[in-house]
Structure formats: C-alpha cells, structure tokens
Symmetry: C2
Subunit: 194 residues, 2 copies
DNA sequence: GGGTCAACCAAGCAAGCGCTAGTGCAAATG
DNA sequence: CATTTGCACTAGCGCTTGCTTGGTTGACCC
C-alpha cells in the first residue's frame, strides 16, 4: 500500500474521483465505478488509497488547499485598502469555487461522510481559510466600508458565495468576477450612510 | 399498500425519517434503521411507503409546503411597504429553516438523491416558494430599498439564509429574527445613497 | 542479470442492502 | 354474523458493497 504520498498518479485519480462524487454522490459511487473511470480494476484502487474514505479526504484536502493558496496570492497581489482586499477575496473565492468546482461541491455536500479523524484534520485547513475572510471583513468594518457584526457578516458573505455552485452557469452571460463585484457592491453601498 | 394518502401515522413516520436522514444521510440510513426508530419491523415500512425513495420525497415535500404556508401567512400579516415585506420574508425563511430544520437540511443536502419524477414534482413547489422571494425583491428594488440585479440579489440572499443551517446555534445569544434583521440591514443600508 | 518496487489483475469473501411473499389479527363495515 | 380493511409480523431472496488475497508485469538499478 502506498501510504499517504502525493504521487502524480494519485493526484489524477483524485481529480477523477471528485467528478464521480459530484455526479453520483459519495455513497453511491462504488469502488468499481471509480476503478472503471480510472482505467484500472477495483482491487488496484487500494494500492493508491487505504480505503474509500481516504479518497474522499484526498478530494476535499486538495480543493481546500488550492482555495487557501489562491486567496493568499490574491491578497498579496492587491493594494492594502479594505475595498481592494474585499474584492480580491470575493473574486478569489469564486475563482476556486468555479474552476475547482468538483472538489468544492464535494467538500460542501459530502463533508458529513468524512470519518472523525479526517474531519478533524480538514477542519484545520478550513478554519485557516475562514480566518482569512474574517480578517478582511474586520478591515472592512474598521474602515466603515461595511457595518454589522464581524461574525455574521462573514457568514452571510460566505453563504451567498458558496450558494453559487447551485445556480451559476459558466456558459451564461456573467463572469465570476462580475458576480463577486456585485456581491461586494450589495453589502458596501452603505458606506457613506453610516 | 397505502398509496399516497397523508395519514397522521405517515406524518409521524416522515418526521422521524427526516431526523435519521440528517444524522446519517439518506444513503446510509437503512430501512432497518428507519423501522427500528419507528418501533416497527422493516417489512412493515412498505405498508406506508412504496419504497425508500418515497420516504425521502415525503420529507422534502412536507418541509417545502410548510415553508410556503409560513411565508404566505407572514406576507399577509404585514403592511405593504417593501421594507416590511422584506423583513417578513427573511424572518419567515429563518423560522421554517430552523424550526423545521431536519426537513430542510434534507431538502438542501439530499435533493440529488431524488429520482427524476419526484424531483420534477418537488421542483414546482420550490419554484413557487422562490417566486415569492423574487416578487418581494422586485418590490424592494422598485422602492430603491436595495440595488442591483433582481436575479442576483435573490440568489445571494437565499444563499446567505440557507447557509445558516451550517452554523446557527439555537442555544446561542441570537434569535432567528435578529439574524434576519441583520441580513436585511446589511443589504438595505445602501438605500439613501443611490 | 538478479533484486526491487510500484502498479496492476483475477477471483472472491462476508456483510449488508432494498424489497417481497405470505400470514396473523383486531377493528371497522355490511 | 361474515367479510373486508389496516397494520403489523417472519423469513429470506437476489444482489451489491467495500475490501482482501495471492500473484503477475515491466521498468529501473547496481
């Protein structure tokens, strides 16, 4: 068995697994389906992953890590105004959500199927990501760009953004960036009112 | 077999099923688990429901119907200003979401497990509910209470509200009504800016 | 050119799954 | 009274599931 390394083969298999998990759901995706999609036999799967659970964990882990990387890059790239940083985070969030869509849909909908150990490990990753958001929201509150409770605002914003995976059509008229800007506009027009 | 009637017994079973579906997920909830929780044997289950799918459909149907009823009542009760109606919808949404929580969590997370026929039927119910929202948002746009695209605003708002099932703690300091008012405040402070 | 090792395969086990068939029985119905 | 109906039972069929086992292949290494 191949322990927990990150071979290129494993990455490819993880990507394929994410796709199937989205199409059929984790529980209804059988190891035989996974193997067939990967062009191997079901037994061979367990050379790459300890068990089916580990495949799920791998999918979610990679998606969340990508989200973290992209958000940090976006923040490093923009200037330090609260407005710019808020826009950057919203755009980065939708960028990962919609390009790495499969992995994130799995993370959103199959989280409860993780066993306790995997959930604990991945919780830390997710918390690190959410901490970025709360930090940016804090800055926006301090500049008077938005109003309200820091906890509530960040929850509402993330809810609105994550919900997009249920209705957004990449072939439609709107780009993810436009979406992000619209949301930020919706909650920041209040700025000059106080 | 008991066709599709709505006996009180069946309602009670549906409520219990919703609870189990939330705890374990639809696919991992076996008919034996359902039967045990209901105090009968697994075979007897199929006297009340045609198959397992029908139990899922019943759970979601009842939750959505309740949501519709409560939202309509709330709109009928409040005065006709866009602000009042917006608050009423948000409060009604959180009221159903958090009191009928099990059914709505199932609707949100297990929707894809419905077979095509059930999905088609329930889609109409859900569309009727969302139409209420879009109507109220339209009125708010017309009064200049909120700004932006009607489609986007309603999606963002419903996303923010539905996301609450993931983090809201009924034993915490905030009431659902406070939550609803905070969200409405977040998107309407922009009113006097234009 | 023997040894190593990741990658794969064929075959199948034990457990659990949704669901059916056939029956018992008390209350409602004529 | 006889019959129907509603609800529950027991027993188990037929199938799928995640995973294991034991072995083969071919590329690379000293």
């Amino acid at each position: 068995m191949n322990v927990m390394n990150a071979s290129p083969r494993r990455k490819e298999l993880t990507r394929l697994a994410a796709q199937l998990f989205v199409q059929a759901g984790f529980d209804r995706t059988t190891v035989r389906m996974l193997a067939q999609e990967m062009g191997i036999k079901s037994g061979s799967l367990f050379h790459h992953f300890r068990d089916k659970q580990e495949i799920l964990a791998a999918v979610i882990e990679e998606g969340t890590e990508n989200a973290l990387v992209i958000a940090r890059k976006a923040l490093a790239r923009c200037d330090s105004s609260a407005s710019a940083r808020l826009h950057a985070m919203a755009r980065a969030h939708l960028e990962t959500l919609l390009t790495d869509r499969n992995a994130h849909v799995v993370a959103l909908y199959e989280w409860r199927r993780l066993d306790p150990e995997a959930r604990a490990h991945l919780s830390h990753l997710r918390d690190a990501y959410e901490a970025l958001w709360e930090q940016v929201i804090d800055e926006a509150l301090a500049e008077g760009l938005v109003h309200g409770d820091r906890f509530l605002v960040s929850r509402f914003v993330m809810g609105a953004l994550n919900w997009t995976v249920r209705w957004y059509d990449p072939d439609g008229p709107r780009t993810p960036d436009e979406l992000a800007d619209e949301l930020v506009a919706m909650i920041t027009r209040s700025a000059s009112v106080g």
